[in-house]
C-alpha cells in the first residue's frame, strides 16, 4: 500500500480529515510533523500539505512554511516523480516555494494574492464549481473526470487568487495545460462573474500543476467533500440530487462525495507507479 505523508506544519488545521480522506481511498496515510528528521521524508510515496494557517499566515500565507527544511526535502522527493498535493494553505506553501509552475527550477513565478471580486473582500467560504482542463496533472489528480463534468467543491480562503506579474508565465501555464482545475459556472460555462469566479484568479484557476503534473497547488478543499454527507442539501446538480436522495440513509450518506475523485485518482496513479517500480 502506498504511503502518503500529511505534513503537519504549525498552524495547519485540516490534517486529520485529509488523512481520513486518503485512507478512504485505500492509501496508507499518516500525519508527519514538520520537524521530523530529514531521513523520514524519503520513506513516503507521496505528500499532502493540508489546509490551515501555517505560522498564522505571518508576512504572507505560506511564506514562512515555504522556507522549512521539510518543504526542501519534499521538493527533492518530488523531483523523482513523487506526487505533492497542496490543499489551500498547502497550495500557498507550494507557490511560495516555487514548486508550481516550476518553469525555472526553484524560482517563485506566482503569488496567491488576496481575493478580488467586485464589492467583496476578505475571507470567502462557500461551494464553487470546477471543471478539469486536461494537462500533465490529469493522470495524477483527475484521471476519471469526464470531459465537461462539473464538480462542486468547497473553498475557504482569503488569498486564493493565482497571479503572476510575468505575462510569459501566464501564457505558458495556459499553453501547457497546467491550470488543471478551473472555476466554472454551475452550468459548466465560463466563470465570468462572482460567485462562479470567487476570487479573480488568473485563467479562473482553482488548481495549477507543475510541468510534470505530479505537484498540484489546489485551493478548494476536497477533503471536505469526500463523503456524500458533507455535500450541502441545497446544492444544485447531480451531487445535490444524490445528497437529497440520501437523507435518512446512513449507508448512502457514507458514500463518496465529489472531492473523493481527486484522492481516488491519486491512489490509482500511486498504485500504477508502485506496480511499475516492482516490475523494474
Amino acid at each position: 500500500m502506498a504511503q502518503v505523508a500529511v505534513v503537519q506544519i504549525p498552524g495547519v488545521n485540516c490534517e486529520y480529515e485529509t488523512t481520513r480522506a486518503l485512507q478512504a481511498v485505500g492509501l496508507g496515510a499518516r500525519i508527519v510533523r514538520w520537524n521530523e528528521p530529514a531521513s523520514v521524508w524519503s520513506e513516503f510515496d507521496g505528500y499532502v500539505i493540508p489546509g490551515g494557517f501555517a505560522f498564522q499566515d505571518r508576512i504572507r500565507a505560506g511564506a514562512i512554511a515555504a522556507k522549512l527544511p521539510a518543504v526542501d526535502r519534499i521538493a527533492a522527493e518530488a523531483e523523482s516523480g513523487k506526487p505533492v498535493l497542496g490543499i489551500c494553505n498547502g497550495a500557498q506553501v507550494l507557490v511560495e516555494a516555487g514548486l508550481v509552475p516550476g518553469f525555472k527550477h526553484g524560482r517563485v513565478e506566482m503569488a496567491l494574492a488576496p481575493n478580488r471580486a467586485p464589492r467583496r473582500a476578505g475571507y470567502l467560504c462557500r461551494w464553487a464549481w470546477l471543471r478539469v482542463s486536461p494537462g500533465p496533472g490529469s493522470v495524477w489528480y483527475a484521471d476519471s473526470i469526464r470531459p465537461g463534468e462539473v464538480i462542486p467543491m468547497p473553498i475557504a480562503h482569503g488569498e486564493g487568487r493565482f497571479l503572476t506579474a510575468d505575462p510569459g508565465v501566464r501564457e505558458r501555464i495556459q499553453i501547457e495545460g497546467l491550470a488543471l482545475y478551473r472555476y466554472v459556472a454551475a452550468s459548466g460555462g465560463r466563470a465570468d462573474r462572482y460567485p462562479f469566479d470567487p476570487n479573480g484568479s488568473m485563467l479562473e484557476a482553482a488548481g495549477i500543476t507543475n510541468r510534470s503534473g505530479n505537484i498540484l497547488a489546489f485551493m478548494p478543499h476536497p477533503e471536505r467533500a469526500t463523503w456524500l454527507r458533507q455535500v450541502p442539501l441545497e446544492l444544485k446538480n447531480v451531487w445535490g440530487e444524490k445528497r437529497r436522495a440520501a437523507v435518512g440513509r446512513w449507508d448512502a450518506l457514507e458514500g463518496p462525495g465529489p472531492g473523493r475523485i481527486l484522492f481516488e485518482s491519486l491512489a490509482r496513479k500511486l498504485g500504477l507507479r508502485a506496480a511499475q517500480e516492482a516490475r523494474s
Binding site: I59, I64, E96, G98, V108, E109, A111, A165, D166
Partner: protein
Amino acid sequence: MSATLLIRLKITDLAAWTALETGRRLLKPGINLERVAREQLLIFEPEQGVRADSFEGILGEAVRHSNFFVNPNKESYRFLSAAERGESWTPPEGAWGILTRPREDTRDERLRESLLREHPMPGLQAIRRGKVWWLWSRGPDGGAAVSDAYSALGDLRDPKHGLLVNPHAEAAMILTGALPWSLVERFLTDPAPAYRAAA
C-alpha cells in the same frame, strides 16, 4: 498634499517578530538584523481642486474618537495632516524601510465608502493603502548594508532569497533617509512598475 495615517501594533507584532527570526537566517554572514517593525500607511487623497484641510478636521476626529481605523487596545497611530507631515518622510532613527503596495489599484474603496457612511466629509477622493517594514540592519562596516539586506529580505525569488515582498502581487520601494512625500504618493498612485525577473 494628503493627510496620512500610520498605524502599528503596540502589542507584540508576531509578523514582525517572525520576519526578524526568518530574516536573520536569510542574511549573509556579517550582516545583523537587530529589529523589524511594521506599519500600515493610509493616504487620504483629496478630490481635484479640493484642499485636504477641508476634510482633515472631521477625519482627525474619526481617527481619534472612533475605532474606525485604530483599535486603541492594541494599536498606536500617528495622524498627520497635510500641513503637519512636512515635505518628507523620515525613517525611525537607525532604520530603513521597505514600502510595499499591491500591484493593482491601491485604493480601498470599501473603506472609503464605509468611512463616509459613518463620518460624512466633503472632498475625500480616495484612501490608498501601503505597508512599510522598518528594518534595523548592520553590515560589517557599521552601515545598514541596505543593498545586501534588501537582496536577502526584499523581493522573493526562491525559498532562500527574499521574504517580505512577493513581486508577483506587490511592488516595493526602498526608504533610506528622508524621502519626499510626493514620491511616496506617486508610488501609491501610479500604476506599479512592470515586473522584471531578478537575474
